[in-house]
């Protein structure tokens, strides 16, 4: 707790687009009310003077992509009572981790030329692969309302309630015609809700940005997409796009691409 009796909070960015941090800043209607509940002592995106900790709550955005970041996340963890990973990069690897499936030396050469020895590049992983994470707010970007609900829950010592059921829940409630029935490769049944099914509501397929549901049944989704004419490559791309960490799951390996 800070001098004012409010929990101290640090907000940190790792490898990603910084959109989740920006989304916190976008909570314009309630930002001042939020500041009544918490004391943000560290947030480099917003503040020029930042504390070096410790913090009651650390919100961490981005994936871990460099050795230097491994050390940094460990330091933050050691200095935080509660650590919350925000956004899909932090919770599941996210879009940056596409590079895990490419030839990294060739990519370095293409982008930075022959002199690239100075680059500190390791396979991308999520925050939970390196340190203990107390709560995860997935989504690309992280949902503003979910962030507010989480702050409120943590402020009163409750466990934040993050949906682990399918996007189909929110999609059906909005009475959207099912995109799978229109032969579109939708990830709704295997993807966690919380987004309000925003993509299917506007006719775009779910891309799986909030990560797999609890006890995900990829085998069944694989079969459905396959019957609709998707190739193994299409399906792999869908499953791994936002959640490269899925590639290491035994259930995923069983799919035999």
């Amino acid at each position: 707790m800070g001098d004012n009796g409010k929990p101290t909070v640090g907000i940190f960015g790792f490898t990603g687009c910084a959109g989740c941090q920006l989304n916190i800043l976008n909570i314009e209607d309630h930002l001042l009310e939020l500041l009544e509940l918490i004391d943000i002592t560290t947030w480099r995106m917003v503040k020029s003077e930042n504390s070096k900790g410790p913090w009651d709550i650390a919100f961490v955005e981005g994936s871990i992509a460099k050795q230097e970041e491994v050390e940094r996340i460990k330091t933050i963890r050691e200095n935080s009572r509660i650590l919350v990973a925000i956004g899909t990069c932090a919770t599941h690897g996210g879009l940056p981790a596409m590079r895990n499936f490419q030839d990294i030396d060739e990519m370095k050469r293409i982008v930075y030329g022959e002199k690239n020895d100075h680059l500190d590049v390791i396979p991308i992983k999520r925050v939970a692969d390196y340190v203990h994470v107390d709560h995860e707010l997935p989504g690309c970007p992280m949902d503003k309302d979910e962030f507010i609900r989480t702050v409120k829950a943590l402020a009163v010592g409750k466990t934040p309630n993050i949906p682990n059921y399918a996007v189909c829940y929110e999609c059906k409630i909005r009475e959207n015609a099912c995109l799978l029935k229109e032969n579109k490769f939708c990830m709704g049944p295997v993807t966690s809700a919380g987004c309000g099914a925003i993509c299917p509501t506007y006719g775009a397929t779910c891309e799986g940005c909030r990560g797999p549901v609890a006890q995900v049944n990829w085998g069944a989704e694989y079969k459905i997409l396959k019957e609709m004419g998707a190739t193994d490559d299409d399906i792999k791309r869908k499953f791994l796009k936002y959640c490269p960490v899925v590639a290491d799951a035994p259930e995923f390996k069983e799919l035999n691409f």
Partner: protein, 348 residues
């Protein structure tokens, strides 16, 4: 009554009621708020979501409370003060679904929010004289209604409806519709009989449930549950579109002052991992296939035990909207065949 006069009736009723009717949306239909009666599609196949949304909304605040002020603000008076709703074009299966929900929410434990909305609603039913794509109402005896409607329309020759009046609320509607419909003529009675004969010929019977109770008693260890468990993604679509699935979750949503909250209930389904998760943590149905099996058992065996009827109205929504193509009809048929012999299928 002339079909075109129904639109006039709806137009006139809009002064008094919030009117909802079937409207096409992409590949399906929804019961939508009607501002222009011409949007109503009385030839609709089936809507994605059933009528339960009008009585148990997918999310509703039941009360607000504030600990600083020690105040409670129940939302029931607001629910009671809502404008009356008129539901137009309700199929027989959906009327049966409401009669089932009446047993659940208006029986031993009365849910005042449900009852208030139910009392505040008038229903114009629509007799299906042709089958819909996925329904199997005649297999579960929900293709005709004895009660649960205020007006009931049977399409007859000459672009007309033969109208049954089912309640004082229906009578009330007729006063609005004063000059829009007349007493049935001999020709009308004859046309009604023709329509009904056509109906009983055209609705298929693909399944008989005579032994379903004992079938389910025996089928607990049936290998079908393992197979279905592999196909099912526990997405919950079946339960969400089901007109009789009524489970909900209650949670307090804190406001930013941390001193007050909205006590909110929202739909939930037994297909979800956290549904039977309790402290410990212990999950009574931790295995995904156990959750799918539980839903089938509750719909059929459990509802029979609790209410004397199965909680399946044969509307076919769960079949139509299951991404994995699982069919309650095929499951019931397969189990009956395996455990009590092939059901006798009477001619349509």
């Amino acid at each position: 009554m002339k079909r075109s006069n129904l639109l006039k009736l709806v137009q006139a009723a809009m002064d008094e009621y919030d009117v909802y009717g079937p409207v096409q949306r992409r590949t399906t239909w929804v019961f939508d708020k009607i501002d222009d009666p011409n949007r109503i599609d009385m030839d609709y196949d089936n809507t994605m979501m059933s009528l339960k949304k009008f009585f148990i909304p997918s999310k509703e605040v039941m009360m607000r409370f504030n600990l600083r002020e020690m105040s409670i603000d129940d939302s029931l008076p607001d629910v009671k003060a809502e404008r009356p709703q008129l539901l137009v074009g309700v199929h027989a299966c959906d009327i049966h679904a409401l009669l089932f929900l009446d047993k659940v929410f208006g029986g031993k434990y009365v849910d005042p929010y449900y009852v208030a909305r139910r009392e505040n609603t008038t229903i114009i039913g629509l007799n299906c004289i042709d089958p819909c794509k996925y329904g199997f109402c005649k297999s579960v005896n929900t293709h005709m209604v004895n009660e649960g409607y205020d007006l009931y329309l049977t399409p007859i020759a000459g672009d007309k409806y033969y109208v049954h009046v089912g309640s004082p609320k229906g009578d009330r509607l007729l006063t609005i519709a004063d000059k829009l419909l007349g007493e049935a003529t001999d020709e009308g009675h004859k046309a009604f009989k023709t329509s009904m004969k056509h109906k009983h010929k055209s609705l298929p019977v693909g399944l008989h449930l005579d032994n379903i109770n004992e079938t389910f008693d025996m089928a607990w260890d049936d290998p079908i549950w393992v197979r279905l468990g592999e196909e099912c993604m526990n997405c919950g679509s079946c339960a969400l579109v089901c007109p009789t699935c009524y489970c909900y979750d209650v949670a307090d949503e804190l406001d930013l002052s941390l001193s007050g909250a909205d006590r909110t209930r929202k739909w939930s389904t037994c297909l979800y991992h956290d549904f039977a998760l309790v402290a410990g943590p212990h999950n009574f149905r931790g295995d995904p296939s156990a959750r799918l099996k539980h839903r089938f058992y509750h719909k059929i065996r459990g509802a029979l035990h609790d209410h004397g009827i199965i909680a399946c109205t044969g509307c076919g929504r769960c079949i139509e909207h299951c991404p994995a193509g699982i069919s309650v009809k095929d499951v019931a048929y397969e189990l009956q065949k395996r455990w009590v012999g092939a059901p006798v299928v009477k001619g349509g």
